[in-house]
Symmetry: C2
Subunit: 446 residues, 2 copies
């Protein structure tokens, strides 16, 4: 935290990666579709990390000195198609960062050609100068790769309240734009990461009825992850031919079922963005309301859900993750209860300690419904953990203690909550609250 905010030596969030070195060694879970909560659809094939981007895309990632560590911190992704289509979703925060504001206000979000992303500096709470820096970056890369500035979407992640070191950024843009290649997605991924302990990246093949298309994604996020929409940076590419409206519809629906349903610490970032770009290079058309729209949508849905679960698994300090599913007859209550349980520090520490203390779930349910909802007291709530019912109509009931103690020691734990009535249902994925979360976020003193 500089007294006079400077343009270099920014103490960026990525420094914290050091703390997590041992976790990083563990690497990402394999194969890509590894969670029971995101089964791989039959018509998807995982091509692995080395498969490269879909036709029509190139990417690069370089180190330009935004991160004092010298790690990669600037990435470019470009679509070479003549008529690309795209769709975008951004954070819902009341304090959006400069790159979000510039992207929302000065971009053709339905026809993007270029992503410029950096880590090590969020360019947030930087006022007019931050907006100027963002616009300057947009102009510089447009010149470097020969597109219009409004075809460039921006993504930044890192510490809030620091200015972008513009000399470094401009040098990085020149460097990265000379290294663009179809196999550059791994370098691009490295350049957008901050406290991530492992890569969140996929290269898939999707079998449609009219042919085969590719789907790739690069994603970062490990903290400041909240259930209200996006949570991070996520860039998705396909060589399918999608109209901009179809791309927008599918991205919107899939984001709601993935990034909108996960939480690490209930904190909404200033910088979140999810971008879908379509090169059309395969010639395979995904027409509105066709069977292939459904099949492509299923693939995108599976991809984003698995990425969202990986973000939760990589939540800062996370040792165990969970899904809470809430059913009942009143949609707002179901939603409020799911988020209250997922963000409860008491539930999250119990998850961490493999403590089957379901009284804390009762407490979180009550806190969410307090003073609202159509429910008489005592609340007739049912609670099951990993299929073992522990609470029936608000009453403690006998259960197999040994089986429950074993179940909550798993890497993924399932909570089911049923409120009175039926018709409404939702789910939230969440991580635990561990000593490492505190270490990462408290012991790092600027």
């Amino acid at each position: 935290m500089a007294g006079e905010p400077s343009e270099a030596g920014v103490p960026a969030a990525e420094e914290r990666t050091l703390v997590r070195g041992d976790q990083s060694a563990a690497g990402p879970p394999q194969p890509f579709f590894h969670s029971r909560w995101s089964p791989k659809p039959e018509h998807i094939r995982d091509l692995g990390p080395a498969a490269g981007l879909p036709d029509g895309f190139r990417a690069a990632g370089v180190a330009c000195g935004i991160k004092p560590s010298g790690n990669p911190d600037l990435g470019i992704l470009i679509c070479d198609s003549e008529h690309p289509t795209s769709a975008a979703r951004f954070t819902d925060t009341g304090t959006p960062a400069a790159p979000v504001l510039v992207s929302q206000q000065h971009c053709r979000l339905d026809a993007l050609r270029v992503v410029l992303a950096n880590s090590g500096c969020a360019n947030a709470a930087t006022g007019r100068r931050g907006l100027d820096d963002a616009a300057k970056s947009q102009g510089a890369i447009a010149m470097a790769v020969g597109v219009q500035p409004d075809e460039v979407v921006l993504g930044s992640t890192g510490s809030i309240s620091h200015y972008l070191p513009m000399d470094n950024v401009l040098r990085g843009i020149l460097d990265a734009s000379s290294r663009l290649r179809q196999e550059g997605d791994g370098d691009f991924q490295q350049a957008i990461q901050t406290t991530d302990a492992f890569e969140k990246r996929a290269n898939l093949e999707v079998q449609l009825s009219c042919g085969t298309v590719r789907l790739s994604a690069q994603c970062k996020g490990a903290g400041m992850i909240s259930p209200r929409f996006a949570t991070m940076l996520c860039f998705v590419q396909t060589d399918a031919v999608l109209g901009a409206e179809t791309a927008d519809l599918l991205l919107g629906v899939c984001v709601q079922r993935s990034f909108d349903r996960c939480t690490v610490d209930g904190q909404l970032s200033t910088n979140d963005a999810a971008i879908l770009m379509c090169s059309g290079a395969s010639g395979v058309v995904v027409a509105p309301e066709s069977e292939d729209e459904l099949r492509f949508g299923e693939a995108l849905d599976a991809l984003l859900r698995q990425l969202a679960i990986m973000m939760v698994r990589d939540g800062e300090g996370a040792e165990r993750i969970a899904r809470v599913t809430v059913r009942g007859g009143h949609a707002p209550s179901v939603e409020a209860v799911a988020r209250a349980v997922a963000n409860s520090p008491l539930v999250k520490t119990a998850l961490n300690g493999a403590d089957p203390n379901w009284g804390r779930i009762v407490q979180a349910v009550g806190g969410a419904l307090g003073g609202r909802g159509p429910y008489p007291s005592p609340l007739a709530v049912d609670i099951s953990i990993e299929g073992i019912q522990v609470c029936s109509a608000g009453n403690a009931i006998p259960y197999d203690e040994t089986a429950l103690a074993k179940a909550v020691r798993a890497k993924e734990v399932e909570y089911d909550i049923t409120l009175p009535g039926d018709g409404a249902e939702t789910e939230v994925f969440f991580s635990d609250l561990s000593h490492d979360y505190v270490t990462i976020n408290a012991d790092y003193t600027t």
Copy 2:
């Protein structure tokens, strides 16, 4: 967590006291009014812990085996006045515990004579049997001390989802009712504590224009503390003559300015209760809309605010506490921002680590205002920490880095946030998020 919930050997929350032994040794801050946020009014005198209860009150606390540790776990407080008045506030949760439901539905809350409180078991999520147990306790103590059951208010605290061991409770009632004495408030206090590291108790003398009255309080609470109203058990006694309506008015206002404005972990308990009882033994009348109503109200306000701040200070694992004050022109935004900052795990870990990372405050502000509020982007928010301004109209500004680093190492840290407009203002007291919070709540495995 018993497979078949049993009536003995309840693994109660108070076991966790052991973890906090070293903090306990530190004892409560002295004198009682020690925070800059709750200055002692001129007309109050602190009589110290040994002064005993106001005339007309007796109390006792015993160990009856609800806590496996053998620590005190059942307390009785009785008003011997012929015409006592009283007022009560309870948790706003959607899953209230049996003692709350029975007290709300079957008590003369404006004319209470007896408090029966226990720790070690919350009697929550215990259904019909829990309600029967609560009613049985109420009947037993009514017989033992010679009052009507509806003159007995109940308070329970401890683990959720366990039944009260009724044999122990009945034995404890007999034992405690034979030990009632005016100096029994210390024993009573011990009997209602769970993870509390120090006593939250006061004996005050209040100078009114018509005479001097006494005011005492016993309070417990260290976790599951939320900003939505009460947060714990708090029992207040006075020998002033108050009408029941005056008592209700004053308790309501003072609770809103104290227990309603503090948070440890944003978790709303199933069992919270605040009870004011007036014996009238002093003969000094506090008449409605009199100067003495104001003076008595000021004293009650100071008492409850200091108790609320002590609860935050004793928040599970708390090493540092803070007050966030938010000003602006839109009351719902001001409220949402204050609570979002106070409950943000990123702000709370920064407070713990004495990290002046105010970017996290920007993030919390944005998260609270996202998608709502009347504010254009970028948000023109001002932020000061301990009077040092770090953010002006949403922009990072130069500040004295050394002074700020020193300021955030204090035991009490002050955050000021100003949104556009004026006329609305609120405050929330909160604790940090430390390793000890995780230890207390995760490493304790049933």
